[in-house]
């Protein structure tokens, strides 16, 4: 064999090998094939972050795979809110779990989306260094606190706590950080505290360097942060698909609130197959105590959103006063209220 032929054969072999490996390891075939389906049967892509506020998304995906009709949607994990927001604006995803104030702000800026359901209630906390000098909200004066986004309820909860404790808006320096970065930053002393959703407070607690200063519910009864938004064009063209999605999420919420075995099971499969986090960490966040974060009732309520909107206007991140109906569509949650929890047991391999 000539040298030229050898090189050519090697090059072709190499190309075939890496293409096959790429196809096997990297390509999400479900998503690729989905694009070739007729528009009416195409599965919705739902964006989510690896936080327990959005746990119903992977839970629904996992359990529905065992159900008669198969998976309901295509989940796609992101690492931060700005990326999700961009994917949503540019129609790369049709539905997403984002923080409530961000949804209101995007609607105010003319992005055609609607809030159709909540992701959870409770489950956010302000965490400080375990042996640090901060023991009360008043001690936070002049300190640096990380928040996930300026459009987050974790920021608003800080403002509420400050107001109750007689502090001025400028008394705390807030910095926006991606949720996965905050635990490390607190451990290294780069920030004095953070206000985040689970499992990051649990992570700091478990690792032994963090202490929960207060839970969100201490200053905000019925606290909610992450919500499910859907693009308006999807609501207009395929309301049935949106209804199926909301029903699935509602059933997962009820299933998660059934008891400790369900929570332990969810911690296990979500940690391993979706979030790439230790199941022990999620188990901590979901069960210590059980109502650290809850998943029912999740229908959007006017009072909750009015409060979020007013806090947003008060803290200068919303200019015009939007009405509840302008950014929510409650018909899906109304219909989902008759749903019951998934009939699914760990390892059974069937869900109904």
């Amino acid at each position: 064999m000539k040298l030229k032929t050898k090189i050519l054969l090697c090059a072709i072999g190499w190309l075939v090998l890496i293409s096959a490996l790429h196809g096997y390891l990297n390509v999400n075939w479900a998503a690729v094939l989905n694009d070739y389906r007729p528009a009416s049967q195409r599965k919705i892509t739902v964006a989510y972050l690896p936080v327990t506020c959005q746990l119903t998304c992977p839970v629904t995906d996992y359990i529905s795979k065992y159900s008669e009709n198969g998976e309901i949607f295509l989940p796609r994990m992101f690492q931060g809110f700005p990326e999700i927001k961009e994917a949503l604006i540019s129609n790369k995803v049709q539905a997403a779990f984002i923080v409530a104030p961000m949804a209101i702000a995007l609607v105010a800026q003319g992005v055609p989306i609607k809030v159709v359901y909540l992701g959870h209630r409770y489950g956010s906390a302000v965490v400080v260094k375990k042996n640090g000098p901060i023991h009360s909200v008043a001690d936070l004066k002049g300190k640096t606190v990380a928040i996930p986004s300026r459009f987050s309820d974790e920021r608003l909860i800080l403002f509420r706590a400050m107001k109750v404790n007689g502090m001025k808006p400028g008394d705390i320096k807030m910095v926006e950080m991606a949720p996965p970065d905050v635990s490390g930053a607190l451990a290294a002393g780069a920030i004095d505290a953070f206000s985040m959703g689970e499992p990051f407070p649990s992570q700091a607690e478990m690792a032994g360097y963090g202490r929960v200063l207060f839970q969100a519910r201490d200053y905000w009864p019925d606290y909610m942060s992450c919500i499910l938004v859907v693009r308006q064009d999807l609501i207009d063209t395929r309301p049935d698909a949106v209804q199926t999605l909301v029903d699935g999420i509602a059933r997962s919420g009820l299933w998660l609130d059934k008891g400790k075995p369900e929570r332990d099971d969810a911690a296990d499969f979500v940690g391993r197959f979706y979030y790439n986090q230790k199941p022990a960490l999620l188990r901590w966040a979901l069960t210590k105590p059980m109502d650290r974060v809850t998943y029912s009732p999740l229908a959007p309520r006017k009072a909750d959103f009015d409060m979020v909107r007013d806090l947003m206007m008060e803290t200068g991140i919303l200019k015009k006063k939007l009405d509840f109906n302008q950014y929510t569509d409650t018909r899906f949650s109304d219909h989902a209220s008759i749903e019951t929890a998934w009939k699914y047991q760990a390892g059974s391999g069937v869900a109904r």
């Binding site: 700005p82 604006i89 995007l106 800026q109 300026r150 459009f151 910095v175 290294a188």
Partner: protein
């Protein structure tokens, strides 16, 4: 316009401006043609820039970015030039240090972000550290190359005049290597300005890099994002033009073959 002919005075400005105008027009018509509601048109960007000017944040951001680059780049120059001269002058030392430097050199300053936060916290220091890292290695390498490329006849001549090693380095080798060092500095300044966006991502609350991140975080404000990007580009161009003036200094100019 042939490559040899000196461009006329008006041509120096006319052609670059024409290309920029054509690009702007192409951008504008792409937006009109695709009817996108997401990406901003040049006019919207201009309006966004005017809004930033009105809110008096722009000048503060520009000066903060320039200050961070000045400190980071200044420190890289102050440490990098002496180190580069020494390493170039003593090949044995270069032999020892070079492998480590070649390992550190290709690591992107962005990869240093977590480390920078641990060492310097979130704030100015971490940002300056990243800019320093971006500029330091190109300067050192340019100095080493500059010194080792000095023809040995210069050194021998210097020695024949009875110069001590220090005098030789200061009065002969450094001036001889200066043209190459200046080129290295210019490249390093470009990199330092390039790193500014990544550096200001670390929870700093001012600067043009922060402006990009901040505009991104504030929902659908891509007009501000693009405005900040354009500003970074224009200021980068101004910095480069300013630095080119240094190359015109008499003690450096001899090193550039085309400029007699």
């Amino acid at each position: 316009m042939s490559t040899l002919a000196e461009p006329k005075r008006w041509e120096k400005f006319f052609w670059p401006l024409l290309v920029s105008a054509l690009l702007l027009a192409a951008w504008h018509y792409c937006i009109v043609w695709t009817a996108t509601r997401i990406f901003p048109s040049p006019l919207e960007v201009e309006r966004g820039m005017a809004e930033l000017l009105r809110e008096h944040v722009l000048w503060g951001d520009i000066s903060d970015s320039l200050r961070r680059v000045a400190i980071g780049f200044g420190a890289a120059t102050a440490l990098g030039i002496p180190l580069g001269l020494v390493l170039g002058w003593y090949p044995a030392a270069d032999y020892v240090v070079n492998p480590v430097m070649q390992i550190l050199r290709p690591i992107s300053p962005i990869a240093w972000i977590p480390v920078a936060i641990i060492f310097f916290g979130v704030g100015d220091d971490a940002a300056i550290f990243l800019i320093f890292l971006g500029a330091f290695f190109p300067i050192v390498v340019a100095c080493i190359d500059g010194v080792s490329n000095v023809p040995s006849v210069y050194r021998r001549a210097g020695r024949n005049f009875g110069l001590s090693p220090q005098q030789l380095l200061r009065q002969v080798v450094f001036p001889a290597a200066l043209p190459q060092i200046i080129v290295g500095l210019r490249i390093a300044l470009g990199i330092a300005w390039l790193v500014v966006v990544a550096a200001e991502m670390i929870a700093v609350d001012s600067g043009l890099g922060y402006l990009v991140i901040d505009s991104r975080n504030s929902g659908k404000r891509y007009d501000l994002v693009v405005a900040a990007m354009l500003l970074i580009g224009v200021i980068g161009l101004a910095l480069d033009l300013g630095f080119r003036r240094l190359e015109k200094i008499k003690s450096v100019r001899w090193g550039f073959r085309n400029e007699a």
